[in-house]
């Protein structure tokens, strides 16, 4: 069984859940964290259970999890009393970080201490990581308060060792190198141009699964059948 952890309005997640029906894909949404049945153990044994699309599932039956949420936000929890929403959101995020980290099946991206979506880097730290990985920066001087920058219009989607985008192979390889350097399986890198020397602008940890080839690459990655 594959799980796609996402907001219920995430069209990319719904697209994948439908496409992966044969793999038993299910959506897991924030409301599932407010349903009886979750069991997660630390420092001891016991069967692990989760809730997905309102139903109890055995964690041992899960074969992979795709994370498409950066975190649980207050506004995702209309069923929780307004006074408690911020607290409950913090509790759910903290729980998901522990739960996703403990899973033995493939999880894309693996959570980081501060984020369920993977490397929890600010824009500044993505720029620093890109510089270390040898990518050329459009604006090596970063100012705060921020200075308005032009929008970068070229995207490269990285899924494991593979990349997707209308760019030169050298630029695609740079995006894959950046992902590798921070331990991310998935990311979308933004560039000012498609040539090998195009400058790097930033990163988004969400990928567009409707882009040609991406959904199949995700599935291969989740099934552990590609590098």
């Amino acid at each position: 069984m594959l799980l796609v952890l996402a907001h219920p309005c995430d069209e990319g997640a719904r697209f994948l859940a439908e496409r992966w029906q044969a793999q038993g894909a299910r959506l897991m949404v924030p409301r599932d964290l407010s349903a009886p049945g979750w069991r997660h153990h630390v420092g001891g044994g016991g069967e692990e259970w989760a809730i997905a699309s309102g139903e109890r599932v055995r964690v041992k039956d899960m074969t992979g999890v795709l994370v498409r949420l950066s975190g649980i936000r207050d506004q995702f929890l209309p069923h929780i009393a307004a006074f408690d929403r911020t607290y409950v959101a913090a509790e759910m995020n903290a729980f998901l970080i522990a739960w996703l980290t403990a899973l033995t099946c493939p999880v894309l991206n693996r959570p980081a201490a501060g984020s369920i979506l993977g490397p929890s880097l600010s824009h500044e730290r993505w720029l620093a990581a890109a510089a270390r990985a040898g990518l050329r920066l459009a604006f090596p001087r970063h100012c705060a308060p921020y200075v308005e920058r032009p929008q970068a219009e070229v995207q490269v989607t990285v899924v494991g060792e593979r990349w997707f985008g209308e760019v030169t192979p050298a630029l695609g390889d740079q995006a894959a190198r950046l992902a590798r350097s921070v331990g991310a399986d998935l990311l979308t890198a933004h560039f000012y141009g498609a040539e090998a020397d195009a400058a790097f602008a930033g990163v988004d940890l969400l990928v567009d699964p409707t882009r040609a080839g991406v959904a199949d690459a995700l599935l291969s990655r989740l099934e552990g059948t590609c590098g």
């Binding site: 407010s34 153990h41 630390v42 903290a94 970080i97 920066l137 308060p145």
Partner: protein
Amino acid sequence: MILLWGPPGDPPLNAVSAALARRRAEFMLVDQREVLEQRVELDIGTPSGAMWIGERRIALEDVNALYMRVYDARTLRRVIDSGPAASVHVQQVETALWAWADETRARVVNRPAAMASNGSKPYQAMLIARTGFLVPETLVTTDPEAAAEFWAHHGRVIYKSVSGVRSMVSRLGPEHRARLADIAWCPTQFQAYVPGIDHRVHVVGHDVFAVEIASSADDYRYAHAQGTTCELRATVLPPDICDRAREVARALDLPVCGLDLRRTPDGQWYCFEANPSPAFTYYEQHTRQPLADAIAALLHGYQ
């Protein structure tokens, strides 16, 4: 130069500041209350950059060590009164400074990325367990039946938040039975109660300072509020436990941390948590352990 970052009046920040002054170390306080006058320039990929406080410039490449005790500056009265643009300013400036704190080659106590492990207690417990300490048997659940089984199995059970918010430890009692159904709304953390004597252990670089705590409260930090007492006295840990404490600090990348340990009657040691920004002055006042001096030495020694 050593940079201290936080609001003046914060007891640990004041204590480290005084200790640095006693050592005649060169240091500067970045007052977090002045965040609206602050701006930052980072030269990405180099150690260079600058922080401006009004017209005053701090060259970030000259900073050898940083001690952080920062709070959410968006809650400052001045920021709230200055409107939404001020809140955006705070978020951008502090995000840049946090990024610098994570990236700089300076000694940082502690790097923000490393401090994040404390935001999820069960996540941090997993990391701590890998260092050899025992961690309490824990169930995080939305299942009232599972919670009741866990309670019945262990007899004595405590519950506490999963995140760092509202982080108070309480013991489950008969008055909670009727409310167990409420856990369906949010994953709730239950732990088997571990009997024994609490120890607060501060690791500062290679130094280990241990305090034994005598209290009957479920959470000794709130002993007075719970109508019980709390006595603290300095103690010495067995060498292997000192080593294990250092290993937790190393594994979590926290040069300074406060570990909550408990020694059971049969001599086993449990670790409950590693606090990445310990309010050590409370322990210093009760035991006279030179914690601020040790932190100052750690920062100063890096110059």
